[in-house]
């Protein structure tokens, strides 16, 4: 049977149906294009100019706006650009350039035409250049003097009487000239030409343009202020020059990295003019309907909405002030704005977009960027998640128990130290590890485990653990948390929390090692042993004041109370050993039958002893006896209840009336801490007694359940499993969105990785480093997003892969091992190849989840698809269209992914295996 038929036969939904559904969705979205919506109006309004000639330049002069165009067209407006009148023009050539300064207005164009309107005058003075060159640009250096530039490096200066040739032999066409004042000016031209003059245009010197634009046409330059000059190229580069210390503007030019265009140095569109409104506010124009505004010196450039057709060629902008002005274009088109062209929200109105096409045109760039950004994090997330998933699943299915480690591998525990010692030399490292392994195997073979050594080790660990706990509890107490608030300790003091975990781990391990007698058998433990130890720890950890103001821990920490501290330590040890011995049946034979009642009795005595010791501790710490008397009374009362209960056989049975009473009382006291219900305070109880009653009750419960044996198998603990489980528990029990925010804003992982990473890669230019530096490390949110997605997905994928591994019959592992493969080899060669095939469908599910969950990266400011959608809506208010387009984009991505996975599944199908196999 050919495998080709698989796809056709087992397709759940016929291909035709899928296509119909997709087309229907698309049609639905497109059909409802002119929905009523909150919308934006273009910041520009089309004004009647009265001409159809191309308008090539515009200028604001005194209280008038002027527009000039082909064949000497001149228009003027006295009302800020709303209505226009044609001016009788003395010129016939195309008027290309204009300038307004020092109260004068100058316009120039083809054949050397230069017209000047001095201040106040209403007439044009003809000051054309005798050389009759086509003037590209003109600048006033005073009321009556000008500088003009043209093709082939032509520079002409007019001093009020005559034109002088000031060219310095530049070969290239000069395209733009701008003067700050009477002295300082800049010229720009083809092939990256920049010239500067400091004497009003007589002498010109070269300036260096950034290498990237050394072959481009710098079509416009503006010497805006003493601290800022801008220039643009016809390919959309924005150049900026600032005053650097004592170096004047115009010397040092840099290319603006335009953040809104992915940090590119080019806008990617053709520009033909710019109008600088302030140090940071610039309007750009270009052919094909391009008008854009930047309010931060070119960092973010936003294309503006237009009320006219998309392909109007804009030629220039003239602004009266920072907000009001006009833009002129071919075909006599004049647009007016009083908001520097920015879109205005106009409330509930029918959209002004013109059509869906224009909206798509406007938004598609941002959506594409978002889609690319989404795909970037998804790919990394999948890779990282899969890798982590495989590693974790191997850890979770590892059969190595504590017993195995002790028996065969104990010397291999030194490997981490070997790694540290040999971190710099890889060769030495591998040989050392190999020899350590060999030695470990040899020792496992020849020397049996030294039981007393293990016991001693256990004792040492337990002491170290208790010590660590006691030491760190001061820090915990310093957090000023009360009772249940202590669940937040991991965040309040992570170091202390780690220490606590370490301490508990050491104590538990110590307790495991301590009773070692050469055998690794499971133990059967009577339950009463555990609560007292736990209670002791809780009591100490709680740090509740034993008496007076200071807590037990506090007293312990005081150096001058050395003897006291030692006493407490000894007491605790005593208690621990007493509880240990309590579990041994031999002890009970001393008092008769070793049955449950006697156990309960013993327990009651033990608890009384406990109370007495506490009473004594309180006494020697010099506090109020009466204050603690009720403490003692409570303890005695519960002990009496035990004894009574034991004698009457009320324990271990259904007759738990006195127990219930005490439990209820304790609960009331406990809740008093949280809900401030002061019943006990009324009868003289306080914090300590509350805790001690709790202690008593817990012991009581233990007595009730005494005689129940549980089987503990501490040597069967699988440390690798535990590590993996810690990881997966954390990531699967917290929401992804919170993980994103925690990792990015809390841990600041992006910053933590970016800074050292960039430092390491500085100066390196090989492809990998460049890719890492510009592609990955450039954006902090990107780094955080990859990690949040990858780490989270890894936890889920681990469970999937583990499930797949578990689905492989155990016989496969047996078969592999019986031919001599070790565990890892069998996993790699036999189990995993089969497991991976099984887990492709559920992993596919997980990957689709990953793609869709990537939308959560929005909360950390990563510019992925959903965030771009939000931004578009914020600007355009087209909610339905935008989200519709976003949904379609996600659908396409996940559908493609699903197709790929389906293909993968078919390709890796094992003949003869599974339902539906050949």
């Amino acid at each position: 049977m050919s495998t080709g038929t698989h796809q056709e036969r087992y397709r759940a939904v016929p291909r035709r149906v899928e296509w119909v559904v997709s087309l229907a969705l698309l049609a639905l979205i497109l059909a409802t294009s002119s929905a009523a919506a909150q919308s934006l109006k273009s910041g520009w309004a089309e004004m009647e100019s009265g001409t159809e000639s191309d308008l090539l330049t515009a200028e604001a002069h005194v209280d008038m706006l002027w527009a000039f165009g082909t064949n000497g067209t001149m228009l003027s407006s006295g009302d800020g650009g709303v209505t226009w009148q044609s001016f009788d023009s003395p010129a016939n050539s195309d008027l290309i350039a204009s300038d307004s300064a020092f109260g004068a207005l100058a316009v120039a164009g083809g054949d050397g035409t230069v017209l000047l309107m001095k201040e106040g005058g209403g007439a044009w003075e003809d000051v054309s250049i005798p050389a009759q060159m086509d003037v590209s640009s003109i600048a006033l250096t005073s009321n009556g003097s000008l500088v003009a530039v043209g093709p082939a490096g032509a520079i002409w200066q007019y001093d009020g009487n005559a034109w002088q040739d000031r060219s310095i032999g530049v070969e290239h066409d000069l395209l733009s000239v701008s003067f700050l004042d009477s002295e300082n000016g800049l010229i720009s031209g083809n092939s990256g030409t920049i010239l500067a003059s400091t004497d009003g245009g007589v002498v010109w010197d070269y300036r260096d343009a950034p290498g990237q634009v050394s072959s481009k046409s710098i079509v416009s330059i503006d010497y805006f202020s003493a601290i800022r000059a801008y220039a643009i190229t016809d390919e959309g580069h924005i150049l900026r020059s600032s005053r650097e210390g004592s170096v004047t503007v115009g010397f040092v030019w840099s290319l603006v990295e335009i953040e809104s265009h992915g940090r590119s140095t080019s806008l990617g569109v053709e520009l033909n003019s710019m109008e600088v409104l302030s140090t940071y506010k610039i309007l750009f124009t270009g052919p094909n309907g391009y008008l854009s505004l930047s309010k931060d010196g070119g960092n973010i450039v936003s294309k503006q909405m237009l009320p006219v057709a998309n392909d109007t060629n804009f030629n220039g902008v003239a602004m009266i002030d920072n907000f009001k002005g006009i833009a002129v274009a071919d075909g006599g088109s004049v647009l007016w704005t009083d908001n520097s062209g920015e879109e205005e929200a106009v409330g509930f109105q029918i959209i002004d977009f013109g059509d869906f096409g224009q909206f798509v045109d406007y938004s598609k760039g941002m959506l594409m960027d978002g889609l690319v950004a989404t795909i970037k994090i998804v790919l990394f997330g999948i890779a990282m998640g899969f890798t982590i998933g495989v590693i974790l699943s191997m850890l979770k299915t590892s059969p190595t128990t504590l017993k195995n480690i002790a028996q065969s591998n104990r010397y291999q525990l030194a490997i981490p130290f070997v790694i540290l010692a040999n971190a710099l030399s890889l060769g030495r490292l591998t040989t050392n590890i190999a020899s350590l392994r060999a030695k470990s195997a040899e020792i496992a073979a020849t020397r049996p485990i030294n039981a007393p050594a293990v016991k001693l080790f256990g004792l040492a660990m337990m002491l170290a653990g208790i010590g660590a706990l006691l030491l760190i509890l001061g820090d915990v107490w310093a957090l000023n948390l009360l009772g249940w608030e202590r669940i937040y300790v991991p965040v309040g003091d992570s170091g202390a929390f780690a220490y606590i975990l370490l301490g508990i781990a050491l104590v538990l391990l110590g307790l495991t090692f301590l009773p070692f007698n050469g055998e690794f058998s499971a133990k059967e433990v009577s339950l009463p042993i555990i609560p007292p130890i736990a209670i002791t720890l809780v009591f100490v950890a709680g740090g509740y004041p034993l008496s007076g103001e200071d807590s037990l821990v506090d007293l312990l920490m005081t150096g001058s109370e050395f003897v006291f501290s030692l006493t407490i330590l000894v007491t605790l040890l005593l208690l621990a050993s007493v509880t240990y011995f309590l579990g041994r049946p031999e002890v009970f034979t001393l008092i008769g039958k070793a049955d449950e009642r006697n156990l309960a009795l013993f327990f009651a005595i033990y608890e009384g002893l406990y109370g007495i010791i506490i009473f004594w501790l309180a006494k020697i710490s010099g506090t109020n006896i009466v204050h603690d008397l009720d403490v003692f009374l409570f303890v005695t009362a519960t002990s009496a209840a035990y004894i009574l209960g034991a004698k009457k056989g009320w324990l271990n049975g259904d007759k738990t009336v006195p127990c219930t009473l005490v439990v209820l009382l304790t609960l009331i006291i406990f809740f008093q801490k949280i809900v401030e219900f002061n019943l006990m305070r009324g009868i003289g109880a306080n914090e300590e007694s509350a805790l001690l009653v709790l202690v008593g009750t817990a012991s009581f419960v233990a007595a009730i359940t005494s005689g129940r044996k549980i089987s503990l198998n501490p040597w069967g603990v699988r440390p690798l499993n535990s590590i993996a489980t810690l990881y997966t528990d954390f990531f699967r029990n917290t929401p992804l969105i919170v993980q994103f925010m925690f990792i990015h804003f809390g841990l600041q992982l992006g910053k933590l990785i970016q800074e050292p990473g960039l430092l390491m890669l500085e100066g390196q230019d090989d492809p990998i480093s460049s890719f890492l530096r510009d592609g990955i490390l450039a954006d902090r949110a990107y780094i955080s997003a990859i990690f949040a997605l990858g780490l989270n997905s890894g936890a889920y994928q681990c469970e999937t892969i583990r499930g797949a591994i578990a689905a492989i019959p155990s016989g496969q592992m047996e078969a592999g091992r019986s031919i001599g493969l070790n565990y890892m080899q069998t996993m790699k060669l036999v189990i995993m190849p089969q497991a991976i095939r099984i887990c492709i469908p559920p992993l596919g599910n997980e990957m689709v989840n990953l793609v869709l969950n990537s939308s959560l990266a929005m909360v950390i400011g990563y510019a992925e698809l959903t965030r771009q959608g939000k931004l578009i809506i914020a600007v355009t208010f087209q909610i339905f269209w935008t989200w519709g387009m976003v949904m379609i984009s996600y659908f396409i991505v996940t559908w493609t992914l699903a197709l790929i996975l389906r293909h993968l599944e078919n390709k890796t199908r094992i003949p003869g295996l599974g339902i539906g196999g050949a």
Binding site: A444, R817, S818, N822, R837, I910, P911
Partner: protein, 245 residues
């Protein structure tokens, strides 16, 4: 007396939970001998077999292979297992690999042969079990008997010192049993040391040199294969008659 290839002494196995599967079993297997272990279900047959190559760890007892004890933590378990061949009741072929690769997996990764050498050995051993014509097939496309023969070939390729068979024909259709038993008989004739746990009493009688009858975790009767026709103990007699009915 030549030293036994395989020696099991006082083996006991108690599963956690309290089941005493094996309660003290000792037997030896000499070179070239084929031993059949028979008994009813739950008598501990499979457990004993799995304890020999340590797929299950015996709670007590000593297992020696060629004189060396192999059930200590010291013994290199993987190396030991590569010297013992095992054939399972459920075949346990590697389903994602072709028949050829099933055989060569162990040769390449455990015996560290080159691919060409491994292929050579694989061909020879497949020819011996008469499966050379299906060398490029996937296990999923083979019948039960064919799969078991490939499994035998897989174990044989490692040139084991002793072969263990865990109810090799129990999962097969009656028509297919014959071919597998033929193969095993061939191996016995060639002098392979083997321990076969089986329900095929006829096979045990005809092919095995010795028969061990297990009942409730102990050796109830042991002796040459003639004891099948002439059981010495009542228990075995009852067992055999219950099968024959």
């Amino acid at each position: 007396m030549p030293e036994a290839i395989l020696s099991v002494k006082d083996m006991e196995k108690t599963y956690p939970g309290g089941v005493h599967a094996v309660r003290g079993i000792s037997f030896d297997v000499n070179e070239g001998e084929s031993v059949a272990i028979i008994g009813s279900s739950g008598s501990g047959k499979s457990t004993v077999l799995r304890c020999i190559n340590r797929l299950i760890e015996p709670t007590k007892g000593v297992v020696r292979l060629k004189g060396e004890q192999i059930n200590t933590p010291a013994a290199g378990i993987n190396e030991v297992r590569s010297r013992i061949g095992m054939v399972f009741q459920s075949f346990e072929l590697f389903a994602h690999l072709k028949v050829l690769d099933n055989i060569t997996l162990g040769l390449i990764h455990v015996r560290r042969m080159s691919r060409e050498e491994a292929n050579e050995v694989a061909r020879k051993v497949l020819d011996r079990v008469d499966m050379l014509d299906r060398i490029d097939a996937y296990p999923g496309n083979l019948s039960g008997g064919q799969k078991q023969r490939v499994a035998i070939a897989r174990a044989l390729a490692m040139k084991p010192e002793v072969m263990l068979f865990d109810e090799p024909t129990s999962a097969l259709d009656p028509e297919l049993i014959g071919s597998v038993l033929e193969t095993i008989r061939g191996l016995a004739d060639e002098g392979m040391t083997m321990v076969v746990v089986t329900h095929e009493i006829g096979f045990a009688r005809d092919v095995a040199d010795r028969v061990i009858y297990l009942d409730e975790g102990v050796v109830a009767e042991e002796g040459p294969s003639s004891i099948i026709d002439d059981p010495k103990t009542e228990r075995m007699r009852r067992f055999l008659s219950s099968i024959n009915d």
